[in-house]
């Protein structure tokens, strides 16, 4: 599938900022089933961009801008070619052994109820269990829209009524790790014909003999060719598309305009 992405993030500040430094995890990398055809990150002010690969294998871009900056727009425009592989990830850069992804973080600590839930639904063989956990989470939270990260922890979200795709992904990760499966958070894009105010998020878990497999508890299914993987991390904070610091006073207002479209024609 040929997917076109246009992702604009606009910051407006109540007072001009002296300096802005951001770390952007906004660039997908190639895997066996994902080829980046074109990709460009643009900034509407005088800024310097530097690219690197981080310790997780993500492509990161450092953005340095000098003030005074009253507003800043980041635009990401690109095209990616994907194919279907039953959710199995092949050919991704894997600088960290799977075992590392058993590590818990403050945002992916399982509560007692979350752990019991995971153990109940996922009893039995590993791969089936993870699929059941994925489906059960979708059943419990049928509506998990792509909204900006609220900083919520998995245990807290599990007890809440409304959740986002970020929250269910973290809940899945907490549950999977509790079951002994290495699991990680994925941030990326998905074509579903709807408008969103934030990128999509899902999870991947490691199954012996198969490798890393995607699970999207927001749909209850595994990601297919309509997904573009961008960044992985231990939790939503670690894979955040934009991490930033600014030097200056005042408040900031954030607007996101995101379009993910399937382009015509076969591959």
């Amino acid at each position: 599938m040929r997917i076109a992405i246009e992702h604009r993030t606009q910051y407006r500040f109540s007072q001009a900022q002296d300096r802005i430094v951001q770390m952007l995890r906004l660039t997908p990398t190639d895997t066996q089933d994902q080829t980046v055809v074109s990709w460009r990150i643009g900034v509407d002010c005088d800024a310097r961009l530097r690219e690197a690969i981080d310790g997780f294998g993500n492509a990161v871009t450092m953005l340095y801008a000098e003030g005074p900056i009253a507003a800043l727009e980041l635009s990401v425009i690109g095209e990616v070619l994907t194919s279907e592989n039953a959710g199995v990830i092949c050919g991704a850069a894997e600088p960290l052994p799977p075992l590392f992804y058993l590590r818990s973080t403050p945002r992916t600590q399982a509560s007692v109820t979350l752990a019991e839930f995971a153990a109940d639904v996922a009893a039995g063989e590993a791969l089936d269990g993870l699929h059941r956990l994925n489906a059960a989470l979708h059943g419990r939270f049928p509506d998990a829209p792509d909204l900006p990260d609220r900083g919520c922890a998995a245990a807290q979200a599990f007890a809440a009524k409304t959740v986002t795709s970020r929250d269910v992904a973290q809940i899945f990760i907490a549950g999977a790790r509790h079951l002994g499966a290495p699991a990680r958070y994925v941030s990326g894009y998905r074509t579903d014909g709807e408008a969103h105010s934030a990128p999509h998020a899902w999870a991947e878990a490691y199954v012996e003999a198969l490798g890393w497999i995607g699970f999207d508890p927001a749909t209850g299914l595994s990601p297919d060719e309509s997904y573009v993987r961008v960044a992985v991390g231990l939790d939503a904070t670690g894979a955040a598309p934009i991490a930033g610091t600014r030097v200056g006073h005042g408040r900031e207002q954030l607007d996101v305009d995101l379009h993910v479209d399937r382009l015509g024609g076969e591959e």
Partner: protein, 480 residues
């Protein structure tokens, strides 16, 4: 654990009347200098330290926000041969630590070959994925190591703890020596003591040797401190001052285009080498703590791009973690191909059921430590603990065994020390400093001797009432 029975480094086992043969003249100096004269010199040193502001802050003790560490006038002395053997062991250990870090954040051969349990590294908070696959300039990780040693006999030294992050105490080594030269000049006349005052030059040389871009003009080096409210601020300013480099706080540094600059009155100046005295967590909020406003945003990106050297390298905590410590003999063997010249103290890893059982059965005889604790906090010294304290630790051990290790209570060596009732043996430990640059490994002939001032106490931490002594290393031809 009383001092009785312990090995005294000057008096040997026989007490003041029959000192070790090599130390006869030093024992005579101790015996012949009147106690009140020693007392007077010691007080004079402490007045100087207070006026210089060589103070440290004790956490949770607001009354004594600034205290000086008690100084003891009787030096601790190493014979030249003792020191030579010790140095070899230190160099071997620090080389192994560097090789281990290079491997862990690189190909991780030691994990693939199963020499240490993989989860002990990968699930350890001290293993920092943020710097995974980053090779620091010139491949040096642990530039400044403080290796804590204890001694139980003439030739029995053990490593108690490795410090490969931001070991402190070197300013005491230098200031104590200054005080001794001023107050007891006769000792330096009678004994040939190796000088330690070249340490700042050695440190600067080490810093310059790892500058990322060699060949251009002299690299710009700085010392990075959290600020003057930090308990070790005196040392930070002392080191910057004696090296003649800037002492900067995070707010003085900016990163632009993956290059680090300091903000000066005339604008920005590029920085090549940073000796940081700040924990990893507070180095760069973008990399480590998105919730923190502290640190220098972009510093890790500049480091990853190879544009700045950071001493010690971020992520070093995995090498001096107490859980890893117990595998140091295996680590030394793995990288050096030989046995560790400096042995570890025997250590029971409570994460292993067998070991846990032994520890629980013998709590009253053991020292139990938190794997991630430091500064003498979260520690049980079985022989001196109350039964309530022992039971408290028993519960904690059963609840979270993986967080603890246990060691035997060693009969730590003693050195004569000034007390209210005159000279008496007190237990000591020792922290020598080892520098590693692109040009090799250097051991400073001296170090920080910490002394437990309370009779029988084995806890030497300054936060727990320990003091310090000067540590002499004698020149080849000299006796004491």
């Amino acid at each position: 654990m009383a001092a009785r029975g312990a090995f005294d480094e000057i008096w040997g086992h026989g007490g003041p009347a029959s000192p070790r043969a090599e130390f006869a003249s030093l024992a005579r100096w101790i015996a012949e200098t009147p106690a009140d004269e020693l007392q007077r010199r010691q007080q004079s040193a402490e007045v100087t330290f207070r006026q210089l502001g060589i103070t440290f802050a004790v956490y949770g003790d607001s009354d004594a926000a600034e205290r000086i560490i008690p100084f003891d006038i009787v030096p601790r002395v190493f014979l030249h041969d003792e020191w030579a053997r010790l140095s070899e062991g230190l160099v071997q250990r620090v080389q192994a630590i560097n090789a281990f870090l290079e491997d862990i954040y690189g190909d991780a051969r030691i994990l693939k070959e199963g020499v240490i349990p993989n989860e002990l590294v990968l699930l350890n908070e001290q293993f920092r994925p943020e710097v995974n696959r980053v090779r620091p300039p010139h491949g040096v990780w642990a530039h400044i190591c403080g290796i804590d040693l204890v001694r139980t006999g003439p030739d029995e030294f053990y490593v108690l703890e490795d410090n490969a992050r931001t070991p402190s105490g070197v300013s005491y080594m230098l200031e104590n020596r200054e005080a001794m030269i001023r107050l007891c000049p006769e000792l330096f006349r009678d004994f040939r003591v190796e000088p330690v005052d070249s340490y700042p030059d050695m440190l600067l040389q080490t810093m310059r040797s790892v500058a990322p871009h060699m060949g251009k003009s002299t690299p710009v080096c700085v010392v990075l401190t959290p600020g003057h409210f930090n308990s070790a601020y005196y040392e930070h300013s002392f080191l910057a001052d004696s090296m003649g480099v800037e002492l900067v706080e995070p707010a003085d540094l900016v990163v632009d285009d993956d290059v680090v600059f300091m903000q000066t009155i005339a604008g920005r100046v590029r920085v090549d080498v940073i000796y940081r005295r700040i924990d990893d967590d507070y180095l760069d909020p973008l990399a480590f703590r998105p919730d923190s406003m502290l640190g220098v945003p972009g510093l890790i990106a500049a480091y990853r791009a190879g544009n700045v050297a950071i001493l010690n390298a971020p992520g070093n905590g995995i090498a001096d973690d107490k859980a890893i410590y117990s595998y140091m003999p295996e680590i030394v063997r793995f990288y050096s191909g030989g046995e560790a010249k400096l042995p570890n103290v025997e250590t029971w890893r409570c994460r292993e059921p067998q070991a846990l059982k032994y520890v629980l059965d013998n709590l009253a005889d053991l020292v139990v430590k938190l794997v991630d604790g430091s500064g003498g906090y979260g520690m049980l010294v079985g022989p001196t603990a109350t039964s309530a304290q022992i039971e408290e630790f028993r519960a904690a051990l059963i609840a979270e065994p993986h967080r603890y290790i246990a060691q035997p209570t060693l009969a730590l060596s003693t050195v004569p020390t000034m007390t209210e009732k005159g000279l008496a043996p007190r237990h000591v430990d020792f922290r020598p400093f080892v520098l590693t640059g692109s040009d090799g490994v250097r051991v400073v002939p001296g170090g920080l001797t910490r002394v437990a001032l309370r009779e029988g106490s084995l806890v030497v931490n300054s936060s727990q009432g320990g003091g310090t002594k000067d540590s002499f290393v004698l020149s080849p031809e000299a006796g004491a």
